[in-house]
Symmetry: C2
């Protein structure tokens, strides 16, 4: 049937298409039926919603669709029911535990991106992967298919470096330092990052305090070809778009099938044209990877996958047992990162980790001799060259390169928890810190977060400050205080941890 497009100010999270009751009856369409909308140039898929908010002969297109495709009010399109996509058969094949072929994986990924597969089919695919797994062939095919169904970047500067931290450790503003250090040494590093999903701040959220992070691929190409680096939000780009849709299912089920995780990360590096990739796996209690064995096995897979993609991959297993530095939350972290890069001095955990990772990249990229990378990275940081490069990045991305740490607004509703007893800090609970910071408003409220006055191993006296919660509103501060009382994120114990008496 022919229909006239009506733009609807409705956001559903899905590709939904609204049809008049009368038209639906005539065309025998029911809610949730998959239909295709054909124009001269393209075919897009969506599911039926029936409502008289559109008239007969009209078809309502929601904002979700318009975020990816352009339609104009009154445009004439063809609407037809869409059958069951062929790729459902391949999802079933994986359900049966069979190995998929390259073309089958490509079909699944393409149909996910085209929205021909929806929550039901994607969830079934993700569940089947969690149960039956993927081998390295399948993971490599999946990675390339995910990259190639999205946009890809071709930067005219080689070699291209990249760094990626597997999430989980709070306060991880490390890459805000790593990228400028690496670029200051003459290497190219077009870094894309994510916003926080379950954490208190993603690298993109932190960077956004210093400069805009939403740029087109063309702008990124221009920036990186000019100054060798960027620190942008990957979500604004159409990189491996299938990933967002599988992640939705993974998050709802709180599963993270390894093959899909590998493909998700590496497809974006592949799309960015990265040739040398450093994967940082923070390891410790309360982060994604809790044991060294697990980290090693994952590292092996990253390296093997890199080989198949023609990328040289190294992995750094880093200490993730407590937050990095003293701050958690976008503005607090941006401030700490900026102070550290400006002065060349900062919390040991942050400086050590940043120069350690940057050093590996300098060696991978061939600008530092083997074993000398970290020293060189430290020199670049301390010399102020890294800060100069960060200023260039901030300027090119449209921020104020002369921003000072004291310019960064921090949530002014605060509450400080103090030690109830003297002793040693034996644990800072990553998950609890994240939960409290999020309750205080992070990452949406950029000024919200936590400042840690102490780190693990330090000695404290009764009444010493332990941590301060920052919030932008009293209401959120109060909620965060309640959470913090319940979770007790910092543990203090005497040197004698347990006393065994007369048994």
């Amino acid at each position: 049937m022919r229909a006239k497009v009506k733009i609807l100010e409705v956001e559903t999270g899905r590709f939904m298409v609204v049809i008049n009751e009368e038209d639906a009856k005539k065309a025998k369409l029911h809610p949730e039926d998959l239909i295709k909308i054909e124009t001269a140039k393209r075919t897009i898929y969506g599911e039926v919603v029936i409502s008289n908010m559109v008239g007969p002969g009209e078809i309502g297109v929601t904002k979700d669709i318009l975020s990816t495709y352009t339609f104009s009010e009154g445009e004439i399109v063809n609407v037809a029911p869409a059958g069951t996509p062929e790729s459902v058969r391949y999802v079933k094949k994986k359900m049966k535990g069979q190995k998929l072929k390259k073309v089958e994986i490509e079909a699944i990924v393409k149909d996910i991106v085209d929205r021909k597969l929806r929550d039901i089919e994607i969830s079934s695919f993700v569940t089947s992967l969690e149960i039956n797994g993927l081998d390295m062939d399948e993971i490599a095919w999946l990675t390339v298919a995910m990259a190639e169904t999205g946009d890809m970047l071709d930067i005219d500067r080689k070699p291209i470096m990249d760094v990626h931290s597997i999430g989980g450790v709070p306060g991880n503003k490390t890459n805000i330092l790593v990228v400028p250090i690496v670029a200051a040494a003459g290497l190219t590093i077009p870094k894309t990052s994510s916003r926080a999903i379950t954490s208190a701040a993603g690298t993109a959220d932190v960077m956004e305090v210093l400069a805009p992070v939403t740029h087109s691929l063309d702008e990124i190409k221009r920036i990186v070809e000019k100054i060798g680096a960027c620190l942008v939000w990957g979500g604004a780009l159409n990189l491996a778009p299938a990933d967002d849709l599988t992640i939705k299912a993974e998050r709802a089920l709180s599963i993270d099938p390894r093959g899909l995780m590998l493909a998700s990360i590496m497809s974006k590096k592949y799309a960015m044209g990265s040739q040398y990739v450093l994967i940082d796996i923070p390891t410790g209690e309360g982060v994604k990877v809790e044991t060294i064995e697990e980290a090693r096995s994952l590292a092996k897979d990253f390296i093997e996958l890199g080989k198949r993609l023609g990328q040289y991959v190294e992995v750094a297993i880093t200490y993730g047992g407590q937050p990095i530095g003293h701050t958690v939350g976008p503005a607090l972290e941006a401030k700490e990162a900026l102070e550290t890069i400006m002065t060349g001095k900062g919390p040991g955990s942050l400086v050590e980790k940043a120069t350690g990772l940057a050093g590996i990249l300098l060696e991978m990229g061939g600008v530092a001799p083997a074993g000398m990378g970290k020293k060189m990275a430290k020199e670049i940081l301390e010399s102020g060259k890294a800060y100069e490069k960060l200023k260039e990045i901030i300027a090119e991305q449209g921020g104020d390169p002369n921003i000072k740490p004291e310019d960064i607004p921090i949530g002014d509703k605060t509450y400080t928890f103090v030690a109830q007893t003297s002793g040693y800090v034996t644990k800072i609970d990553n998950r609890a810190i994240t939960t409290i910071a999020r309750t205080a408003g992070a990452p949406e409220d950029k000024g919200a977060g936590i400042f840690l006055h102490v780190k693990v191993g330090e000695k404290v006296k009764e009444e010493d400050p332990l941590f301060t919660i920052h919030a932008e509103s009293e209401a959120r501060l109060d909620q965060a205080i309640i959470q913090a009382r319940r979770l007790e994120p910092i543990r203090i114990e005497g040197m004698v941890l347990q006393r065994i008496g007369n048994l």
Copy 2:
């Protein structure tokens, strides 16, 4: 947050709740977030849609929700985000291949019915069942949980009989005859049926040609206590409501995990209070169960499950290699069933199957001696007593008991396919017949369908009519003709099927 209900004329297939953009921002709600709407009496769950078609402080409730719950325009409710339901952990447990506990299965079913689990979680559960299965304990718990989360019927007449055909064979109007025969013998049989999902006519679609089939549980109780039988649409009742939601996922994935299939069928029998249940498993090419071995294994499971539910179950494995009788499609089937029950004579396949099944039920219910059921069923059919009972059912359900076969309107746009050659009918393809009948408009167009002039084994001469397509519109007739030419549903061969010459 407090909000004022606004009723929206929107049908999405899901429980969706519309929130104003400003409110969503304030409450940090995103599209697809799960929220709860609380009133003094109940809490219901739905997912967020963001749109300015409701104002700030308003919450839009869609027709899907109103089909189950009552809200009035302007009613004040409380709206709050809902966390991840506990039962997701049990879905994950099944993903890992572990046996679920009774309480865990109950939690999953309850959360499905409450819409706290949505497509993603339900699909993951169904996929996990397809891969990892359920044992008989789990199936029994699932069956009872599905029944008890819906309405249940308590009929004051014992014993209560029931009959159910596993779908798949076209033209299966058998139960329109079985139910009146059984009730005419004094037994109680409150039969609920489904509408066609993938077939050309469900029993409810066929019965609806003769009388209304949409009744409340109270009306059904009244009718069955008065005349011992009904033939109603189960979908109008709130029987095992979790089933509709799992079936949606199963259909999209075209899977049918056995444990879920058993629970789906038996939960409805359990909810209807059935004590003696006959399961008809049509077996043959192109139906759900293709081999006798498979049918036997399924039969064993039905009987075992019945034991655990306190039901006595028998199974009839019936011939399903071609359509039952000569007609496929609601009105054509209703006409054939009515003619057969009025005269006591009809197509062999229909009369044999109906009296066979009814006979087993008469023996199960103790009104016919062992081995005498079929004879008794035949006598009841031929004596006109079954017809009298059907008239009572039609009258009680609000139809015209004096309806005659010739009163039933059949699609008057017709096209007859004739034999291209002389020979024997060696095959009538069930799937092809269903596809053609559906293309002609069945089941929505009640008059659409197929009349078969021949059945398997019959001899035909060139130009003899094979089958006639009936449709209500020329357009649909044309489409069905094209389908029929492509599918060639009836195969005619000489007695010599293959000639092997000089090799």
